[in-house]
Amino acid sequence: MNRNFERGTVLRFTLVRLAATALLLVAVSFVVFALLHLTPGDPARNLLGPRVSSPEILASIRTQYRLDDPFLSQYFHWLGGVLHGDFGTSIRSDTPVTTLLADRVVLTAQLAAYAFLLTVVVAIPVGIFAASRAGSAVDRTINVGAIIGVGAPSYAVGLLLLYVFGVNLDIFPVYGSGDGFLDRMWHLSLPAITLALGIGALVFKLTRTAVLGELEQDYVSFAVSRGLSPRQVRSMVLRNAMIPVVTSLGLVFAFLFGGTILVEITFALQGIGALLASAVTFKDIPVVQAITLLTAAVIALTALAVDLFYFAADPRVRKRAAK
């Protein structure tokens, strides 16, 4: 009986979350499309960009983007294209937006993945370590470091790192993104460290709080008084503490993906973030729309995956949802 009951809950929860995500993405796509009309000036002129203007060209842009149609019909036309992977043509470079993105997405994904890996490998163990020595001088020092790390702007940290390790010590390359995988990783090291510093400080705090919270639980004192070895207790505590940490990591990756703008500009990397910044400056609206929508989609889908994972990993969440 219990099984069937649980399967029903899981199914319902999954469907509700899927529907909510779809609804959210539709709402976001609407706002993203409206950007074209929210930008000051005539949309046709904005879409024309720096090209030579003539009444005929403006008229052809009006028909191409259906600017004379009602707003909703324009929106559905645009959405239809987006669903087929067509985000229109970049005004600035006169190439399809999809091609432009495809050229750059790899670099940004590599950077985000590299930073993510650094965060996981460093922040979580340090968080566990600090929690195990809570209140000590080491713990307090790491904590102060984390508070500073959370608050420090990535571009300022990046430029200082660039000065120390790139210019002064000449350990890491200052410009370029490298050829081949190893060289690429070598070039991405400083940017990834910069990116990982802020987000790593957050993951550290989260891990420390989670482990401390578990250590205060009754089951720990019970396990200790029953004579379980410290090692067994530790494994119990860690397994429970990791649930919130692992679920937060999904969102960390999504945010890293969206947070590469400043780091890419700082290190002159030609990724998605740098493309967005220049597209905003040049009012290249189709590119801005595409990147904003894709970033929102990555974040929303990651949040969905995290929720489903949480649901699968923690029976307490299932029980609460069943009520």
Binding site: I147, I148, G151, Y155, A156, V167, G258, I261, L262, T281
Partner: protein, 271 residues
């Protein structure tokens, strides 16, 4: 018996210095934006310019001192504005409950899920807004944390005996809200506002690093860093001065806010 607290004192020093620069920049460094294009870039330690000059021959240190104003004033308004929104909408949600609460909570959740820098960049960048429009955009983007905080605190206070007795005494909703609940929420709100100033400072200067917000020629740390990026080899102080300024100020505000938050939490627990 009371031990002197180290954190607030250490944080107060740089913050006081910045406050002096914000108020008195035009008297301390009247020539901060004076250009000397013929002089151009000079390295740190050159005569008359301890930290050298940038491409336009402006003194790096003077520009850094003058930049305190645009770095701090906007963020203070962002923190105030978003807390105002937070108090308004948060107390509305917490006190009225029902569908108002549901709607406001969903709204806050939606805003909270957005990457702040990206949205601010897109919106402020496409509108071409300048400094105060950017401040306004950030007020909206910063408000969800405040809305949730105030809502949560109002809910926590509402169930306490003293509010129950106020209700029994027949006090009006508005009076209970403003005279009894909000004053008790104030300490937490203050600490959160301080932390928001730090985050807003980072957000604003990030945007000006990307060329948004402050107009050209206005002294600003973010802009100074983006200008200084190409000078790393010739006058590294052009990067180090504004970079260290931002990091130190953000850290001081963050540490102070964190310290305040911890103290208020301790006090609340002791009650």
């Amino acid at each position: 018996m009371k031990r002197p607290q180290l954190t607030p004192v250490l944080c107060a020093i740089p913050l006081a210095a910045v406050a002096i620069c914000v108020v008195g920049a035009q008297w301390i460094v009247p020539d901060a934006t004076k250009q000397d294009i013929l002089l151009g870039v000079t390295p740190a330690g050159s005569p008359g310019h301890r930290f050298g000059t940038d491409q336009l021959g402006r003194d790096v240190l003077q520009l850094g001192i003058a930049g305190a104003r645009s770095a701090v004033v906007g963020p203070i308004f962002i923190a105030l504005g978003s807390m105002l929104l937070g108090v308004l909408l948060g107390s509305l949600a917490g006190y009225l409950g029902g569908w108002v609460d549901l709607l406001l909570t969903k709204y806050a959740d939606l805003l909270l899920a957005l990457p702040t820098t990206l949205i601010a960049l897109v919106v402020a960048g496409l509108i071409d807004g300048g400094y105060w429009v950017t401040v306004l955009v950030l007020v909206v983007l910063f408000s969800p944390t405040d809305i949730r905080l105030i809502r949560g605190s109002v809910l926590a206070q509402s169930s306490r005996p003293y509010i129950e007795s106020a209700k029994v005494l027949g006090l009006g909703k508005g009076r209970i809200m403003f005279r009894h609940i909000l004053p008790n929420v104030m300490p937490v709100a203050l600490a959160t506002m301080l932390l928001n100033v730090a985050f807003a400072l980072v957000a604003m200067s990030s945007l000006s690093f990307l060329g948004l917000g402050v107009g050209p020629g206005v002294p600003d740390w973010g802009r100074q860093l983006s200008d200084g990026r190409d000078l790393l080899g010739r006058n590294s102080a052009a990067v180090i001065v504004p970079g260290v300024l931002i990091i130190v100020i953000a850290a001081a505000i963050n540490l102070l806010g964190d310290w305040m938050q911890e103290r208020f939490e301790q006090r609340a627990r002791q009650r």
